[in-house]
Amino acid sequence: MLRYTIKRLISLFISLAVASIVIFAVIEIAPGDPASFMLGMNAQPETLAALRAELGLDVPKVQRYLTWVGGMLSGDFGTSYTYRTPVMDMISDRLWVSLPLALYALVLSTALAFPAGIYAASRRGQAGDIGVMGATQLGVAVPNFWFAMMLVLIFAINLRWFAAGGFVGWDKGLWAGLHALTLPAIALALPQAAILARVMRSSLLDVLGEDFMRTARAKGLTARQALWRHGLRNALIPVLTIIGLQFSFLLAGSIIIEQVFYLPGLGRLVFQSISARDLIVVESVVMLLVFSVITVNFLVDLAYAAVDPRLRSRT
């Protein structure tokens, strides 16, 4: 297991290094130089020159790359051109909203999907299965912003249980923060839960057809015992893969939900900085997202090995 972990860690660092080179190179080969791109067509030559100097475009590329990476490692992501504040501060503010929101949504979606998937699989072809599958079909088809609007209508406007939007900040206490994130988390979680429940169901059905499930029944286990003791853990691998993918999506892909609920999250930051051509912010946020995706993949790999002994011994 230790050897496996070390191997995965090495591959994590290699992926990060390659990703940073690719991101840097893509920004470099954008037409014109980054400075003229950021300032647009009608830039004054003096402003352009000033920005070039600020971005350090006059030094060689390799040196610039190393400065950039070195800066990120020491927590210095540069200064936003548009807002004139350190990028680090902007990102960490937003991350305090986006990361809890993503985790909250992920927990909700898993909590919904597991029981639904297991229930449907254990009643294959019966009314319960058809009902759950119909609901998940809807969940996959209906966009999350529609759920968001419905949630606002019902729980914020009619019932007045929640605020319609905005974020109070964590200094008002954990409960207040979670309360404010509940509606957006549900809106994000519903479509994800629908997908996850379908994956859970089909993966479990595959496992239920395996020979060892019949062996378990021959030992005297009831159908339910066999499902919980032998089926579930074997069915988890594809489910873990989807959970990993979903987390990455939830972290950065929630821009529409952030708009609907007026949340100051990462998605909006990306959108705003792209519109403002603030390459410094874009570059940093993309790198951060890549980092989080690769880290989540690493955690998913460790989870695979925890679930399946065959992966552990394959070193």
Binding site: D211, F212, R214, T222, V307
Partner: protein
């Protein structure tokens, strides 16, 4: 009183009749074999006894275990009986165990699920005892092993341990050795027999292979199309077979064909000192990866018109050697030439040589594209030719190949799912024949077939040898088949050819100890003097 008494058992699944009036019994300590070909209902008889039938199954008749009628019990009562009074062993040891649980946990589970008051430690101690009993002692096979760390035979021992942990009165074994090598098969059969004797346990053994049970079963039950056609005490049943189906099964099991005399020797395929290494995964980041030598310094020659056999157990390198012969993989040493030309050139198969070789695989169900018609399937080797026959020539070639294997030109426009396993294997042979190759490789080509179908395919091979002067390499783990369809045989073990010679000489007077043990382990039908009717 009998332990198991099945009377007038009929079974249908979604209105399809599977079993008709099956009546059989097993006494305590008795070994009863149920035999028959695929579709005879033998496996479903076993599953019906376990009451583990697929959904939609409708059952009538009685299955008495002692004084309980299993067909009238509730699911909860049945769960009490399964594993406790009746244990079951399945065919496929590779998939019958849960891959993510240790063998100790899986054996202990049988105990814990029936005796809630037994502590985990005690259940594990009893699991260790049971594993030792089936030949997996704790010093070499601790409870913490996972199934993937064991061989097929060892896994089957674990499955047996799970089934007998609570010393059930009845053990049902459904083709317990079909997926195993002959020497492993002999060990597992001996183990089952020993356990039945020691515990006075009734053993109901399901098998397609009469020879496997002939010297072990007390009684034999022959089934066909869901009905019992004949049953009786083993020796008397084999001496006076009354039903024509039993006679046919018996004859087909030991079916012999006569091959035409091979032409005078003239080398066709020459294999010289071939070595095939596989790279093993690196064990450390900067260390050199290790190698596994799958084929070690193998040399032999196939003469034109010769029928050569290659036998050996799984993992001996047969399949690796086959791939190397076909030029599908590069060898790390030695040379393989057909008519003097190498089978592998540079980084790819030498197509000039490749079009002179064809192969017939084991699985008649997986080796065809289900969306193509037969004419397209069997003309696939034409892709290897520079100017494949077109139009009327192509049609003629298809007709000829189909006729040669006993099918008709009408079959050309059908899809593969319309054919039985035996017919599919005929189509596979037609596909190999159609470009008139110099050499055909049969890779376990009859291993998946029922004995009666296998006999027909062997007859077909013998006929084709006469009509087409075939040269082939027949690779199989089944010694009795190799014995009848080859002139010469190679015995392979751990990547090396340990013995080669004229087939009859090798079988009559095996020189190498490994060959001797293989032949000793291979089940054979006893030859009784047949009583005259």
């Amino acid at each position: 009183m009998n332990l198991l008494e099945i009377t007038n058992l009929s079974l249908s699944i979604h209105a399809l009749k599977i079993l008709r009036d099956v009546t059989l019994s097993v006494a305590p300590g008795e070994i009863v074999a149920v035999t028959g070909e695929s579709g005879s209902g033998k496996s479903l008889t076993a599953l019906a006894t376990m009451q583990l039938l697929p959904k939609g199954a409708e059952l009538s008749g009685h299955i008495m275990l002692g004084d309980q009628d299993l067909t009238e019990l509730t699911e909860a009562q049945l769960c009490e009986i399964r594993g406790n009074d009746v244990g079951m062993v399945f065919q496929e040891p590779m998939t019958a165990l849960n891959p993510v649980q240790t063998i100790g946990a899986q054996v202990a589970e049988t105990i814990r699920v029936h005796h809630r008051d037994v502590s985990r430690q005690e259940a594990e101690a009893r699991a260790a005892e049971t594993l030792a009993r089936v030949g997996l002692p704790q010093d070499r096979f601790p409870l913490s092993r996972y199934p993937h760390e064991l061989s097929g035979g060892q896994r089957q021992r674990v499955v047996i341990a799970m089934a007998i942990a609570l010393r059930p009165r009845l053990l049902i074994a459904d083709e317990p050795t079909t997926a195993l090598d002959v020497t492993t098969q002999a060990q597992i059969l001996a183990l089952l027999k020993k356990l039945a004797q020691e515990d006075g346990m009734g053993l109901l053994m399901i098998t397609h292979d009469l020879a496997v049970v002939a010297d072990m079963a007390d009684r034999i039950i022959v089934m066909r199309h869901g009905e019992v056609v004949e049953q009786g005490e083993t020796r008397s049943l084999l001496q006076n077979m009354r039903h024509p189906y039993t006679k046919m099964l018996f004859e087909a099991s030991g079916h012999r064909v006569s091959l035409p005399e091979p032409p005078p020797p003239q080398p066709l395929l020459e294999v010289r000192n071939v070595i095939r290494d596989y790279r093993l995964p690196r064990t450390s980041l900067f260390g050199h990866p290790g190698h596994f030598r799958a084929v070690n310094d193998v040399s032999f020659t196939i003469q034109r018109g010769e029928r050569l056999g290659l036998v050996g157990e799984s993992g001996c390198g047969k399949s690796t050697l086959t791939r190397a012969l076909l030029g599908l993989e590069q060898v790390q040493g030695g040379s393989i030439t057909l008519n003097g030309a190498p089978v592998f050139s540079g980084t790819r198969p030498n197509l000039d040589v490749r079009r002179q070789m064809q192969v017939v695989f084991q699985d008649p169900f997986g080796s065809f594209n289900p969306r193509h018609r037969v004419d397209r399937l069997i003309t696939e080797p034409f892709h290897l030719l520079h100017d494949p026959p077109q139009g009327a020539d192509r049609t003629r070639a298809i007709d000829e190949a189909l006729t040669a294997v006993g099918l008709t030109h009408k079959d050309a426009s059908k899809y593969i799912h319309e054919f039985s396993g035996g017919q599919r294997q005929r189509i596979a042979i037609a596909r190999a024949l159609i470009i008139r190759p110099e050499l055909i490789l049969f890779d376990e080509a009859v291993s998946a077939l029922d004995v009666s179908v296998r006999a027909q395919i062997l007859d077909l091979l013998a006929d084709l040898c006469g009509a087409y002067d075939l040269t082939y390499l027949f690779i199989s783990h089944d010694l009795s088949v190799v014995r009848t369809v080859t002139d010469r045989v190679l015995v392979m073990k751990s990547g090396e050819i340990v013995e080669q010679g004229q087939t009859e000489d090798v079988f009559e007077r095996p020189a190498h100890t490994y060959t001797q043990s293989l032949i000793a382990a291979a089940p054979v039908l006893p030859q009784f003097e047949q009583a005259r009717a």
